[in-house]
């Protein structure tokens, strides 16, 4: 059976299954679901405080607090740690460029210098957490334009399960994502991250909050597939801005 025929059949079956469960299903393709996710009203700029709690397999936890400035739908982002004292002042700047690549640098006050990060280094753990630099860069980014999105199934809700495969040239280290998107919020409630075909980690969005009419994730939990540590990000003090001055997304601001 040709692949597209199979997918069409799968989509029809999903729609039929949704109808059988008694819920209305608006989208019939993965592309339509992700287009709706991307089209969801989102603030142009956001300033918030994130509390990052890293919990080890044994249950011990470390808490870190940071301030985040995000603009251009997440394409420009600055993260500055405010606590605890041993990492306070450390920061991360991420700027998505017109060609889709990301310019990223880290500031470490102990070294009194900024360091550029290579593409492959964005896979590294973000300050010891289960999030990578790449995940943090993409946290506020809603776009999935550069992915091939395939609707795998529709769960009760309806919740769309979409497989997003990056097209060649997409600046990501993941081979694919599987997103669970409730139609009610159009905010993915669960994202599975795969690298080289193997499930690497799972992010769940536990809570959302409404700020100035925008529904935003307020609690995200990343767990490694191997059952190791988990990291929870809780967003607070959220303020939506029409814009953030361009000089915030500079090395100058990062090192202040």
């Amino acid at each position: 059976m040709p692949r597209h025929t199979f997918l069409s059949l799968l989509a029809v079956l999903c729609v039929a299954a949704g109808a059988a469960h008694g819920y209305a299903q608006t989208y019939t393709t993965g592309a339509a679901v992700m287009a709706a996710v991307d089209a969801r009203p989102a603030p142009k700029a956001l300033i918030s405080t994130m509390t990052m709690t890293i919990t080890s397999r044994s249950g011990q936890s470390l808490t870190r607090t940071m301030r985040i400035w995000s603009a251009d739908g997440g394409d420009s982002e600055v993260v500055k740690f405010t606590a605890p004292a041993d990492i306070a002042g450390s920061g991360f700047l991420s700027l998505k460029r017109a060609d889709g690549s990301t310019d990223a640098m880290v500031y470490l006050p102990a070294l009194d210098r900024t360091r550029r990060i290579a593409g492959s280094q964005k896979q590294q753990a973000f300050f010891g957490s289960d999030f990578s630099y790449e995940d943090i860069s993409d946290l506020q980014t809603g776009t999935h334009e550069t992915y091939d999105n395939e609707l795998l199934k529709v769960d009760p809700g309806p919740v769309y399960v979409v497989q997003a495969t990056p097209r060649p040239g997409t600046d990501t280290s993941y081979s694919k994502l599987v997103l669970h998107v409730p139609e009610a919020t159009l905010i993915p409630s669960r994202i599975e991250f795969y690298r080289a075909g193997a499930l690497l980690k799972v992010m769940t969005i536990g809570k959302t909050t409404v700020v100035d009419g925008y529904t935003l994730p307020s609690e995200m939990r990343m767990a490694s597939a191997s059952g190791g540590s988990t990291t929870t990000l809780q967003q607070s003090d959220v303020s939506v801005a029409a814009s953030i001055p361009a000089e915030v997304f500079t090395e100058r601001f990062l090192t202040r």
Partner: protein, 418 residues
């Protein structure tokens, strides 16, 4: 000028003037214990650092900020009690210009560990193989950093009104070399006179200054290139010896003379991120006032160049490899120019949020000596970290690092940051 005065007023009278002010008091307590292979205890210390930082301003970007550090330490195995001021400076944000005045650190360069351009701050070399970032001593400077709006170009201007020398290595680390002293027939050395330290006086002719321009490169995954010039004074002395006559004819004392060379430094550095690696490079040529090597009180000109590649493996381990080329010119009429090539390899791995491991291997190919430094760092709780580092030196006696074989040591530190 009116803007500078207004910012100073804001900084000093922020609260009274009604401007929003932020103030933070923090600090760090560190205890360190070291045991050397020769049975000595090179360090057994406690150190308290108090930091005060604050800013004035009502927007996202402050109008002004300040930072001050008070450092108190006690080393039972070495220098005893010490209380001093660390960084103490104010920054005024004047549009596209940051004006920073006070005792501060100004780092120039791109590469790790070895930075030919990083000459502005004197060093604490009492433990000469400590991390370079821990060795920099804040020194009085007036610094202006001019940014362009797109953050694509940066000009860094620095003026050092007074000279401060580096702290010399401890006695265990000092090389036991000899300096030949030609004596006339019939003259004998009968003793040693006190060392003459010719520290540059605080006068206009001894003011140091430098400029560095950095251009952001819109290439690959980001990069930048910089050019630097420094008119400065070396913070480590050139040692020469002279004779001092005694009351007895034909008998002299020898005296060590410490001179601090005036130099001009031209440097360049770059960093370039690609999809799989970051490349960094840095080179500087130093020109002294004795280009021919005729004056024994002035060091000879030379250059240093460093090239580095950094790569992170899929496992999360980050490795760097650095090649370091150094050249010092010869004295006039002698063939004693030295050119050395060294390599520095490091690997760092975060084994979870608490434990990280790192190792460094420094090797000098000219004499076969080197140092291996494995280390572990563990976060016990937020702000509480423990570090253990082993310093192992190898090589023959008289070689660059082999002379420090007996200084091989283990250092353990516990730090609480608050």
């Amino acid at each position: 000028m009116r803007r500078i005065l207004a910012s100073l007023l804001l900084l000093g009278l922020g609260a009274a003037a009604g401007a929003q002010t932020g103030f933070h008091l923090g600090g760090k307590v560190t205890t360190t214990f070291g045991a050397a292979f020769d049975g000595t205890i090179p360090v057994a210390s406690a150190r308290l650092e108090l930091h005060a930082t604050g800013d004035v301003g009502s927007g996202i970007l402050p109008d002004a900020s300040f930072e001050a550090e008070l450092i108190a330490g006690y080393d039972g195995a070495g220098s005893g009690t010490d209380v001093h001021l660390g960084k103490a400076y104010a920054t005024l944000y004047l549009g596209d210009i940051d004006l920073i005045v006070g005792q501060q650190i100004a780092f120039w360069g791109s590469t790790d560990a070895v930075n030919p351009e990083d000459v502005l701050n004197p060093r604490d070399l009492r433990f000469p193989v400590a991390d370079p970032a821990d060795q920099r001593i804040p020194t009085p400077m007036i610094r202006a950093i001019v940014h362009d709006r797109q953050d694509a170009l940066k000009l860094d201007l620095v003026l050092l009104p007074v000279f401060r020398a580096s702290e010399e290595p401890g006695t265990a680390w000092q090389a036991g070399g000899t300096i030949s002293l030609p004596l006339p027939p019939g003259v004998t050395v009968v003793g040693q006179a006190p060392t003459q330290d010719d520290l540059p006086a605080a006068r206009l002719a001894n003011v140091q200054f430098g400029a560095r321009v950095t251009l952001d490169l819109d290439a690959l995954s980001g990069g930048d290139v910089s050019l630097a010039y420094v008119h400065g004074i070396r913070t480590t002395p050139t040692v020469s010896v002279t004779t001092v006559p005694t009351s007895t004819p034909g008998q002299v004392l020898v005296r060590s003379v410490l001179d601090y060379d005036r130099y001009d430094l031209l440097g360049a550095d770059f960093s370039l991120a690609t999809a799989h690696a970051v490349f960094r490079g840095e080179a500087a040529a130093t020109f002294t006032h004795d280009p021919d090597g005729t004056d024994p009180t002035i060091g000879n000109p030379g250059y240093q160049a460093v090239l580095e590649a950094e790569h992170t493996f899929p496992s999360g381990a980050t490795a760097t490899l650095e090649g370091i080329l150094e050249h010092v010119g010869a004295d006039k009429g002698r063939d004693n120019a030295t050119t050395t090539f060294s390599s520095l390899a490091t690997i760092a791995y975060d084994a979870g949020p608490r434990l990280s491991a790192q190792a460094a291997w420094l090797h000098d190919y000219s004499d076969g000596s080197g140092m291996v430094r494995p280390g572990l760092s563990y976060t016990f709780a937020g702000g509480v970290t423990g570090d253990a580092e082993l310093y192992l030196f190898y090589g023959r006696d008289g070689s660059r690092y082999g002379s420090w074989r007996h200084d091989s040591q283990l250092r353990v530190a516990l730090t609480y940051a608050f």
